[in-house]
Structure formats: structure tokens, C-alpha cells
């Protein structure tokens, strides 16, 4: 065996090292899925049910609602389905951090992760990326299915780059909120179930972000509340891109505030999570037992 390296050099840091560790965490999620392939079928069934239910609800409401979504082509079914698919991706990024911290804590692995230079963050980011990628693949497959069956018509020449940017900002902003929620695992000792931040956010999205209810229908004060949610900008931007082929100023008007919000939320989420971990170190809260 080789001799031990000097202290502090035992674990190479840097972006490359972090990325490898992130990949390792995502790999574990992949191996778990391979081990339990039934989860793939469950995910498919869940996707089919969610899309199916909202398709028929939107279809039922469309005669009365089409007029309220004229800005997006006047098709309420398409309006709702695009929102539902995007929100599924957002929710995956939103919920992953708390679930990851909770699982690592109760599996008694959190302290072991903490010993590695980037252990906890690599675990958090790696599993978040896997969940987001998994959700994106499913929603992408659903979108292809809906377009192929004529259920959903997309505009010609959808700008893929701008759509990808909006998708990335959706993930980033929701991940930032997710990290804020995950920090409550230590800050407020929320040890099971859901953290209050993501729980409140999830329900706000359903009411004031334009997910199901067109913003034009909402009273002014609710519309104002919706301006604080990243999903509001994501839905508006992506519907404009996919359903009307809009580009340029119409999309920039959504992307800029979304970008600012995403930056603030990611920084805020990371800061809160870092604070929570330091506090857990002071109070002995990283381990299940002292």
C-alpha cells in the first residue's frame, strides 16, 4: 500500500473532484432504479394519470376558458398541459433537497458524508440532478406523445436554446427554494414529511402562478403575489415559446426577472443550507444519535 498523503491533501477538491462526486451520487440513484424497475412503471402510470386527468379537466373547461388564454393561441388544453409538464419538473427539483437530507440523516450516513470535503453537497446536488433529469425525461416523453397524437400543437420553429434556458432557470430557482426548505431540517427540526417552505410554495404555485388559472382571471392582488414566484415567469415564457413561437422581447421580459430570482434563490438556499449544517455541528444534530 502507498504511504499516506500529507494532511489536507487526502481528498482532492476543485470542480473536477466535485463533479465526480456528484456523478457518484446520481449513479446511486440510477442503480436503485435498476434494482427496482417496477418504480419505472409506477412513474409511467403516475405520469399517464396526471396528464390524463388534467387533459380531460382542461378539455371540460376549455369552452369557457379558451378566451382567457387568447394570448397563448386560445387553446386552454394546451395552456394547462404545458404548465403541468413544466411544474412536474419544477417539483422534482423543489422536493429533492429535503428528501435527500432526510434520507441521509435517517440512514445514518450524514456524518460520513460530512467527513468528505464535498460529501454532503455532492450528495445533495447529485441526487437533485438525477431527480430533475428523470422528471425531464418523463415530461419530455409525455410532450412527444401529446404532440405525436395531435393532442398538443406546438408553434413552428420553437427556439430550443431559449426553451432550454427557461428550463434551466426553472430547475435552479426551484432547487434554491428546495435548499431553503431542506435547511429547516436542522433549523426548525423538521425531521419527517414536508418542510413548510416547499409545502407553501407548492400550493401558491397552484393558485397564483398561472398553472391552471390564467393570470388575467385573477384579481390584482393575487396577480401581484404571483410575481414573486419563479413558476409564474417560467409558465409565461415557455407557453409563449412553445405555443406562439414568440421570441425576443416577449420572452426576455420573463427571463430577466426569472434569472434574477433564480440567482437570489440559489444563493439564498445555499447560504441557508450552509448555516443549517454549521448549526447542526454546534448542536450535535448531524447524527441520529450523539
Amino acid at each position: 500500500m502507498t504511504g499516506s498523503p500529507p494532511a489536507g491533501e487526502a481528498q482532492p477538491t476543485g470542480v473536477g473532484g466535485l463533479l465526480r462526486a456528484v456523478r457518484a451520487a446520481a449513479w446511486v440513484e440510477y442503480k436503485t432504479l435498476r434494482l427496482y424497475p417496477a418504480n419505472l412503471w409506477l412513474a409511467a402510470a403516475q405520469e399517464l394519470t396526471t396528464v390524463g386527468v388534467w387533459y380531460f379537466v382542461a378539455l371540460f373547461l376549455s369552452p369557457a376558458a379558451n378566451g382567457a388564454v387568447a394570448r397563448y393561441g386560445g387553446n386552454y388544453v394546451a395552456y394547462v398541459l404545458v404548465g403541468v409538464l413544466l411544474n412536474q419538473v419544477g417539483m422534482a427539483a423543489l422536493l429533492a433537497p429535503f428528501t435527500t437530507v432526510s434520507n441521509a440523516f435517517w440512514d445514518k450516513r450524514l456524518e460520513t458524508y460530512r467527513l468528505a470535503t464535498a460529501g454532503i453537497w455532492a450528495n445533495l446536488v447529485g441526487r437533485l440532478l438525477w431527480q430533475a433529469l428523470f422528471a425531464t425525461v418523463w415530461q419530455g416523453a409525455a410532450l412527444v406523445f401529446l404532440v405525436a397524437t395531435g393532442t398538443l400543437s406546438l408553434a413552428h420553429g420553437v427556439p430550443v436554446g431559449e426553451a432550454a434556458l427557461v428550463w434551466a432557470l426553472l430547475l435552479a430557482s426551484n432547487a434554491g427554494i428546495g435548499f431553503m426548505g431542506a435547511s429547516l431540517f436542522f433549523l426548525l427540526e423538521v425531521k419527517k414529511g414536508r418542510d413548510p417552505i416547499t409545502w407553501v410554495y407548492q400550493y401558491l404555485v397552484q393558485i397564483v402562478s398561472g398553472l391552471y388559472i390564467p393570470l388575467a382571471v385573477l384579481p390584482t392582488w393575487l396577480r401581484a403575489a404571483g410575481q414573486a414566484l419563479p413558476q409564474t415567469y417560467v409558465f409565461t415564457a415557455m407557453r409563449s415559446l412553445l405555443l406562439t413561437g414568440a421570441r425576443g422581447p416577449a420572452v426576455i421580459a420573463q427571463v430577466v426577472p426569472l434569472g434574477v430570482e433564480s440567482t437570489v434563490l440559489v444563493a439564498g438556499g445555499a447560504a441557508m443550507m450552509a448555516w443549517a449544517l454549521r448549526r447542526a455541528e454546534r448542536r450535535g444534530g448531524l447524527g441520529v444519535v450523539v
Partner: protein, 325 residues
């Protein structure tokens, strides 16, 4: 060079800090030593180890571990030490095989490619897990899971290794292989080891020095041989008395020449065990015999023997020490 040099470490738990886990611990450990941390449950061993490993912040005190400041350099300390907790085997991923568990952790600890594969193969061989490399953790024994947890902690080849009851769940073969590995790591690689154990034989076999913890304080820290030699003058005189419910009036230690403490334990069937700790057994024995005759005690057996760490542990942890260097 001291790999651990800390002083005044204190830690309290609870919202009002009502539970004192550590009360002013001073500890210095030289490079290449094997330190045994001994103490009963609740003495503060795990808390001390977590503080030294950078996982827990002390409420008071400070110092250096591997040259890094304990308070400001916790991140660097964590990267440079390895730790195996008693529940480490529970933290294995049951969705990965034995080998895959190590494959997952290797890049977390900065090991990649061929170096990672060689290291994993080496650890599996040294911890007798080669035959179980493709098994699932829930299908191997608790001892094998403990050895896998140890293998995981050794991936990083760190200079300082903390082992919290490493042979806790192991069978005889597992105990031998782990003790052999610890000795090899220390003697061949110069790894400094801090281990907690309740098995005195293990501390005597593996450790170059021991620190005895009692109620959050280090009450004795010395080389094993020196500790035993310094306390050899204190030896137990043990009496087994068939009391059968009869009350026994035990004299105070001060009434017997050179006696420092007297412990009384009641056993099954009304048998009473009296241990008289004495600095000079030949001087104390006549007084003990006079007491037995005067009280007409039905003594079954009277013995005196050399001290082991078990006796040192029992002597120190049940009351503040009254003897020793």
C-alpha cells in the same frame, strides 16, 4: 509532532445546556500513537471523538488537530481524518453490493480510476470481504457489515483514524482481522489511531496509551504500561462472604492501614463481594483478618491479584481517583 493538541474542551447538550458531555478535556497525542479512550456509557467518548474529527463544535476550549485549528479549520480536519462510528454499518447503502458501496464512496473521497480499483481490491482482501464483494449488505452478517464500514473509512488513507468501538459486532475471526489491520496501519503506515473500546484486552493489546474518561473529563492519560505499573501499588483484596441476608458492617477505608477504598456488591443467593483497594496489601491484610474474626464473617474466599485495565477502569470510573501518578 503532536497530531492532537487540545485543551479545555467542553460540550453541553440540551436547549438550556443542561447535560454536560465534556467538562474541560485536555488531550495531547503524538504522531504514530494508538490511543485507547476508555470509559462507561455516557462518559463523553463519542462526543470527544466527533469534536476531534471536526463533526461537532465544542462549546469551549480549542486546539489543533493535524495542525489545523479545531474551530476555524474543521473542514480541513474532516478531510484529513477517517472515522468509523458504532452505527456505521447501518449507514451502508442496501441498494448497492459490497463492492459497489466502496465504488460509490471512492470518488467522494477523491479516488478515481485504477487507483480506486486497486484500493478497493486491497481493502476487500485485508478485511476478508473478497468472497462477499458481490453480496448485498442485508445478506451479510453484522460483523461483515462492520468490516465494510471500516473499509469505507479507510478508502481515504488518512493519517488520523478514529474508531468508535470497531470490534463491537464482530465474531472472533472478525476481531482478529480488524485488530491485525489496526496494528498494521499503525506500524507499517504510521497511522495514528484513536479508538474507543469496552474490551480491556483490546486496549492492552493495541494501544500504546490510554485515556480514561469519567463524566466528561479525562481522569487519567498515560502509556498503558506506565499506567499499570504506577497503579500496581494499588491492588484489590477480594472477599466473598456468604452473608445470606445478614447485614455486614463494613469499616471505612481509613480504618484499615493503607486501604484507599472499599466496594461492596451483593450477588445472588445473598452472597456479598467486598473489594478492599490497598496501597500495601501485606500491611492491610492483618487488619482485614482482624475485622473478619471480630465480625465473625463467613468468608468463603479471600484473594489478591495483579491489576488489569479492567480493575483500573473499575477503580477510576466509580469514584474520583485517589491514587496514581
Amino acid at each position: 509532532m503532536a497530531v492532537i493538541a487540545v485543551a479545555g474542551l467542553a460540550k453541553h447538550y440540551g436547549r438550556r445546556r443542561q447535560t454536560a458531555a465534556l467538562r474541560g478535556v485536555d488531550l495531547t497525542l503524538e504522531d504514530g500513537a494508538v490511543l485507547g479512550l476508555l470509559g462507561p456509557n455516557g462518559a463523553g467518548k463519542t462526543t470527544l471523538i466527533k469534536i476531534l474529527a471536526g463533526l461537532l463544535r465544542p462549546d469551549a476550549g480549542g486546539g489543533r488537530v493535524l495542525g489545523f485549528d479545531l474551530l476555524r479549520g474543521a473542514r480541513e480536519i474532516r478531510a484529513a481524518v477517517s472515522l468509523v462510528a458504532p452505527t456505521a454499518d447501518v449507514g451502508l447503502d442496501n441498494n448497492l453490493t459490497v463492492r459497489q458501496n466502496l465504488v460509490f464512496w471512492a470518488p467522494i473521497y477523491g479516488l478515481y480510476g485504477a487507483r480506486a480499483r486497486q484500493r478497493i481490491d486491497s481493502l476487500l482482501a485485508r478485511l476478508s470481504l473478497e468472497g462477499k464483494a458481490d453480496a448485498w449488505p442485508m445478506h451479510i452478517s453484522a460483523g461483515q457489515r462492520q468490516r465494510l464500514a471500516l473499509a469505507r473509512s479507510l478508502l481515504a488513507e488518512n493519517r488520523l483514524l478514529f474508531l468508535d468501538e470497531p470490534t463491537n459486532k464482530l465474531d472472533a475471526e472478525g476481531v482478529r482481522s480488524v485488530r491485525s489491520l489496526i496494528a498494521e496501519l499503525n506500524q507499517q503506515q504510521g497511522t495514528t489511531v484513536v479508538l474507543t473500546t469496552h474490551v480491556m484486552e483490546e486496549a492492552q493489546e493495541l494501544c500504546s496509551e490510554v485515556a480514561l474518561l469519567h463524566r466528561g473529563a479525562v481522569v487519567r492519560h498515560a502509556e498503558v504500561g506506565a499506567l499499570l505499573r504506577s497503579l500496581e501499588e494499588v491492588r484489590p483484596i477480594q472477599l466473598e462472604i456468604a452473608a445470606r441476608g445478614r447485614p455486614i458492617a463494613v469499616p471505612p477505608a481509613g480504618a484499615l492501614p493503607q486501604a484507599v477504598r472499599i466496594q461492596v456488591q451483593t450477588g445472588e443467593g445473598g452472597a456479598v463481594s467486598v473489594t478492599i483497594w490497598s496501597r500495601d496489601v501485606p500491611a492491610t491484610t492483618p487488619a482485614v483478618v482482624d475485622w473478619i474474626r471480630g465480625a465473625q464473617l463467613p468468608v468463603r474466599k479471600m484473594t489478591s491479584q495483579r491489576l488489569t485495565l479492567d480493575d483500573v477502569f473499575a477503580l477510576v470510573h466509580t469514584s474520583p481517583p485517589e491514587v496514581g501518578p
